[in-house]
């Protein structure tokens, strides 16, 4: 099958074609840019939900149950489950699917496991492309399960319309929840394993952190000064407009499914709100901008790696820096001059 046929079959959700197209995008196989260009006009319809949180917090189980709930409601679901790649061997053990296998015979659920392949930030470099393939294939929801995150892996926020941040009791004190980073990207907070001791404290601490943030989700606040490219958003919060989205704090027991329907309802409500107040346009514009900048930067970097003259110059400059004859910024500027001219 050539890529044209794979694309046309993937667009009507032929499972093997979807799967093969994901591999083409993930491995950047020859022709992948043409294939991507062909599917891109069909993207933008799915509600993309990121599920992130620390290792062992129950993300996979929650994703499994969220998928089951959306299926019950007659919706189709694509799942991208990311696990870490070994920085030493390049290998990976992708184990998220283990908790989702009951969906494997359901054609309305497509599950794909990915290794991070050296990318930091909680997802793989190609996750964005895989999400686009599933979106183009017509899945109503695309769920991204990140690797188990620590404090600063926030990249899923630039891929997802809605971010559900999963927390569990017993991980730390109230200073953890007011630190910068991952706590700022949640549109929905899910306190999982609610049968464990300490659940009330986690909820209270998140509530306090949200109060300090002025009742507005981190992402909406951080970007409230921006105008969307269409001028559809005013950015500033006006009292006559809809009240700002305050991230709800939900309690679940993913293992039994308790609270999962509320998580789905809340994600839907968040999407509804984004569409209503114009923030969706802005979020998707930000995603497009960061993706475009990233690709341009990749291309420049790859062009540099192929450019013998630049590589020779870089080597010479590096020796000067190492011998303390030049500082690294001056060397960087010299190299830039050489590449640009």
């Amino acid at each position: 099958m050539g890529w044209q046929e794979i694309v046309s079959r993937a667009l009507v959700r032929d499972i093997r074609a979807v799967s093969r197209l994901i591999s083409i995008v993930e491995d950047r196989r020859s022709g992948f840019e043409d294939a991507y260009a062909a599917i891109y006009p069909h993207t933008g319809k799915a509600h993309v939900i990121g599920i992130t949180g620390p290792p062992g917090s129950g993300k996979s189980t929650l994703v499994d149950k969220i998928a089951a709930e959306y299926r019950r409601r007659g919706k189709t679901v694509g799942i991208v489950a990311v696990d870490p790649t070994s920085p030493f061997t390049g290998g990976a053990l992708l184990g998220d699917r283990l908790r989702m296998q009951r969906h494997s015979l359901d054609d309305g659920v497509f599950i794909r496991s990915m290794g991070t392949r050296g990318h930091l930030g909680g997802v793989a470099r190609a996750t964005s492309g895989v999400v686009d393939v599933l979106d183009a294939a017509g899945y109503d929801y695309v769920l991204i399960e990140t690797v188990g995150v620590g404090q600063s892996e926030v990249e899923v926020a630039s891929l997802a319309d809605t971010v559900a941040l999963v927390q569990v009791p017993g991980l730390g004190d109230d200073i953890q929840v007011i630190k910068a980073g991952v706590m700022e990207i949640g549109d929905v907070f899910v306190v999982n394993k609610k049968d464990r001791p300490g659940v009330e404290r986690v909820v209270a601490e998140i509530r306090m952190a949200l109060d300090l943030a002025g009742n507005v989700s981190g992402r909406s606040r951080a970007y409230s000064g921006h105008h969307g490219p269409t001028g559809a958003t005013t950015g500033t919060v006006d009292a006559t407009e809809v009240a700002p989205w305050r991230p709800p704090i939900l309690q679940t027991m993913a293992e039994s499914g308790e609270g999962v329907a509320e998580v789905c309802d809340t994600c839907d409500a968040h999407m509804h709100r984004l569409s209503e107040d114009g923030a969706l346009v802005e979020r998707r514009f930000r995603r497009a901008r960061s993706e475009t900048m990233q690709i341009a930067s990749d291309l420049i970097w790859r062009g540099l790696a192929d450019d013998r003259r630049a590589l020779d110059a870089a080597e010479e400059l590096a020796w000067k820096v190492a011998r303390r004859e030049m500082d690294p910024y001056a060397a960087g500027w010299s190299l830039r001059e050489l590449i640009v001219n």
């Binding site: 491995d27 390049g90 992708l94 699917r97 015979l105 496991s113």
Partner: protein, 133 residues
């Protein structure tokens, strides 16, 4: 020119036995050999294994059986792969498999069978040398 192609392997435990130590040892060894290993866990039906192999677009399906049901389960997986038109996936098996059963399993398309005592290095080598794409 393809970039970043990695060998992807589905490690699965078909059937009802609950002994997955061997499958985990193999999964870990393949990971350490630089492969992406999708581990699907215990008690998988042949239908589930084939569906997962297709969605994950794997190069290899590695199955472990210790229950004695290999003469049914391995051929059943091969049959389902064939029915779905999947002919470019290398399928290997392992577990407690009597020597006299091995020729029949190879006959139906299982490329190799690794029995107790086989080294994981041999498994890695076999996969590297025999993947079909």
């Amino acid at each position: 020119m393809d970039e970043g192609k990695k060998i992807r392997v589905l490690v699965a435990k078909p059937g009802l036995d609950g002994h997955d130590r061997g499958a985990k040892v193999v999964a870990r060894a393949l990971r350490d050999a630089g492969m992406e290993v999708i581990y699907t866990g215990l008690r998988q039906t042949p239908e589930q294994i084939v569906a997962a192999a297709i969605q994950e677009d794997v190069d290899v399906v590695a199955m472990s059986i210790l229950s004695g049901a290999h003469n049914y389960l391995f051929p059943r997986v091969m049959q389902l792969l064939h029915e779905r038109g999947v002919d470019d996936v290398l399928v290997v098996g392992g577990g407690i498999i009597p020597d006299e059963d091995i020729p029949g399993l190879k006959e139906c398309g299982i490329a190799e069978v690794f029995t107790p005592g086989a080294s994981t290095a041999d498994t890695v080598k076999f996969i590297r040398e025999n993947i079909k794409r």
